[in-house]
Amino acid sequence: MIRLEHVSKVYKTSTRPALDDVSVEMEKGEFVFLIGPSGSGKSTFLRLLLREEVPTRGRVYVSNFDVAKMSRRRVPRLRQSIGCVFQDFRLLPTKTVAENVAFALEVIGKPRNTIVKVVPEVLQLVGLDGKEDRFPTELSGGEQQRVAIARAFVNRPLVLIADEPTGNLDPDTSQDIMLLLERINRTGTTVIMATHDHGIVDSMRRRVVELSYGKVVRDDARGVYGVGR
C-alpha cells in the first residue's frame, strides 16, 4: 500500500537531512503511529506521501502511484485517494458542517446527487447527525475535528493521514476521536497518525514507527510510545 525505499529529503535551507535513508512499508488496512520529537521528520514523511514535497533521493509508492516520479497532472488523483486531518482542523468558517464536508466533493467535480447522498451518511458515521447546519465556531473542538475527519473520509480514501489530530483536544475528547479513527480503520482504510500523545499510543497497542533525526530508529508491530519515558 505504502512503501518508501531509501528515501532522503534535504531542504535547501538546512544542512541536516529532514529524512535520512528511510525505508518502510505499510500494508493495506494497517494502523500506524508515527512518533518522534519535533523536527524528527514526521511532517516531511507525511508531506512526501501527499507529494507536497519530492524526495531528494529514493522512491515513494502510495497504492499504485509512483509518487516521486509522477507528473504534476496526476497529483490530484493521488490526493483524491488520501484523506487528511490536522491538529488545527482547517475548516472553512463561512460554511456549515454539511457544506464543509460537501466542499471536498464539489471541488473534485462529484455530481450533486452523489453529494446529497453521501454527506449525511458520513456525518452519521462520525456522530454529527443533527448538526449539519451548524457553523464550525458553534462546535466544540472535538466536534470540529469530527467534521474534519468526515471531510477527509467522505471520498472513501485508501489512506487517512492524521497529523497530530488530538493535539488541541482534552484526553476524553481525544479518546473519542481515536475510537472514530479506529472505526474508519476497520473499513479497510490505512491510517497513519503522527502524534506526541503517549497515552493514546500506549493504550492502542498498534504499530509504532519512531523517527529521530530523520532516521527510523524503531518499528514495533505492537508498540508503546517510548521505553523508560
Binding site: P76, R79, R90, R151
Partner: protein, 300 residues
C-alpha cells in the same frame, strides 16, 4: 466541472475584494474608453478620406484685377491660363468660377454661421479655376507650373489643408492610444494584484482544495473568471462612457462641423462597431494577466 460551484466562488471572490474589484474595473474602463476613442478617430479619418478622395481639387486663385474685370474669362491672361491648364497632362477638368459664383458658394458652405456671412464681402473672394486631377496626389505639377504666373494670385491645394487636418486628428488618436496603453499597464498591474490578494484571502480554501485533490482548473478557474468578469464589466462601462461622451459632449462641440459636412459625424453605429474590439481586448488582457499571475506568483 460543476459550473454552479465555480461561479459561486467567483461571486464570493469579487464581493470579498470589493474595493480592489472596483479599482480594477474603473482602470480597465478608462483604458478601454481611451482605446475606443482612438479607434473612433481612426474610423472618422477613414471616412473623411473616403469622402474627400473623389472631390479633392486644386484651386488656382486669380488676382484681384482679373477677378474684378473678367467675369467670363474671355480676356487675357485668364483665357490663356485656362487653355494652359486644360493642356497640362493629368488634368481631368477645369472649371472657372467667377467672383459672384464664388461668393454664392461661400454663403452655401457657411450658412450655419450667419455671423461669418455678415462680415464677408464678395470683394474678398477671388475668381478661381477649380482643377480636378486624375491623380489627386500629384498637385505639385500645377503648383510649380502656375504659381507666380501673371494673373495668378496663388495655388491652393485642398489636399495639403486636409493633410494637416488629418495630422491633427491622427495626433489626437496617438495621444488617446498612448494614454490607453499607460492605463492598460495600470489595469494589468491591478488585475495581477487583485488576483494575488484574492488568492491570499482564500488560501485556506485553496489549501483544502489542493489537499482533497482538486485539479488545477478547479483551483485556478475561479480566479481567472474573476479577472475576466471584472474585465467585461470594465468594457461595458467603457462602451457606456463612449455613448455618454458622444451624447452629451461630442455631439454638442462638433455640431457645426458635421452639419456643414466638413467632418463626418460619429454615430452610435460607430460605437457599436468598435465595442466588440473593446470586449475582446478586455477578455484577452484579463485572462492572460490572470493566467500569468497564477503561474508566477500564486502557488496553487
Amino acid at each position: 466541472m460543476r459550473t454552479s460551484f465555480v461561479f459561486s466562488e467567483v461571486i464570493t471572490g469579487l464581493r470579498r475584494n470589493v474595493t480592489m474589484t472596483i479599482a480594477m474595473i474603473l482602470t480597465t474602463a478608462i483604458s478601454l474608453g481611451l482605446l475606443g476613442g482612438g479607434l473612433l478617430v481612426v474610423r472618422m479619418v477613414d471616412k473623411m478620406q473616403a469622402n474627400y478622395a473623389g472631390k479633392l481639387e486644386v484651386s488656382v486663385l486669380l488676382t484681384n484685377d482679373v477677378s474684378a474685370n473678367d467675369k467670363d474669362c474671355t480676356q487675357q491672361p485668364c483665357a490663356g491660363l485656362r487653355s494652359q491648364l486644360e493642356q497640362t497632362s493629368g488634368v481631368e477638368t477645369v472649371v472657372f468660377q467667377n467672383r459672384d459664383e464664388g461668393f454664392e458658394r461661400f454663403k452655401r458652405i457657411f450658412e450655419a454661421q450667419p455671423e461669418l456671412l455678415k462680415l464677408a464681402r464678395p470683394e474678398a473672394i477671388p475668381a478661381t479655376f477649380r482643377v480636378k486631377l486624375e491623380d489627386p496626389e500629384r498637385t505639385d505639377v500645377i503648383k510649380t507650373a502656375f504659381e507666380g504666373k501673371p494673373g495668378v494670385k496663388g495655388v491652393d491645394d485642398q489636399g495639403k489643408f486636409l493633410e494637416r487636418f488629418f495630422e491633427g486628428l491622427n495626433g489626437m488618436r496617438d495621444v488617446a492610444l498612448i494614454l490607453a496603453l499607460i492605463q492598460a499597464f495600470a489595469a494589468l498591474l491591478l488585475i495581477s494584484n487583485t488576483i494575488q490578494v484574492s488568492a491570499f484571502t482564500r488560501r485556506v480554501e485553496v489549501g483544502i482544495m489542493r489537499l482533497v485533490g482538486a485539479t488545477r482548473w478547479y483551483t485556478q478557474l475561479p480566479f481567472l473568471i474573476e479577472a475576466v468578469v471584472a474585465g467585461i464589466i470594465g468594457s461595458v462601462t467603457a462602451v457606456g462612457g463612449l455613448v455618454l461622451f458622444k451624447a452629451f459632449f461630442l455631439d454638442r462641440i462638433t455640431r457645426n462641423l458635421t452639419e456643414s459636412g466638413i467632418i463626418p459625424p460619429i454615430g452610435y453605429l460607430d460605437i457599436l462597431i468598435v465595442s466588440p474590439w473593446l470586449f475582446l481586448v478586455a477578455i484577452v488582457i484579463s485572462a492572460t494577466t490572470g493566467y500569468v499571475t497564477l503561474r508566477l506568483y500564486v502557488r496553487l
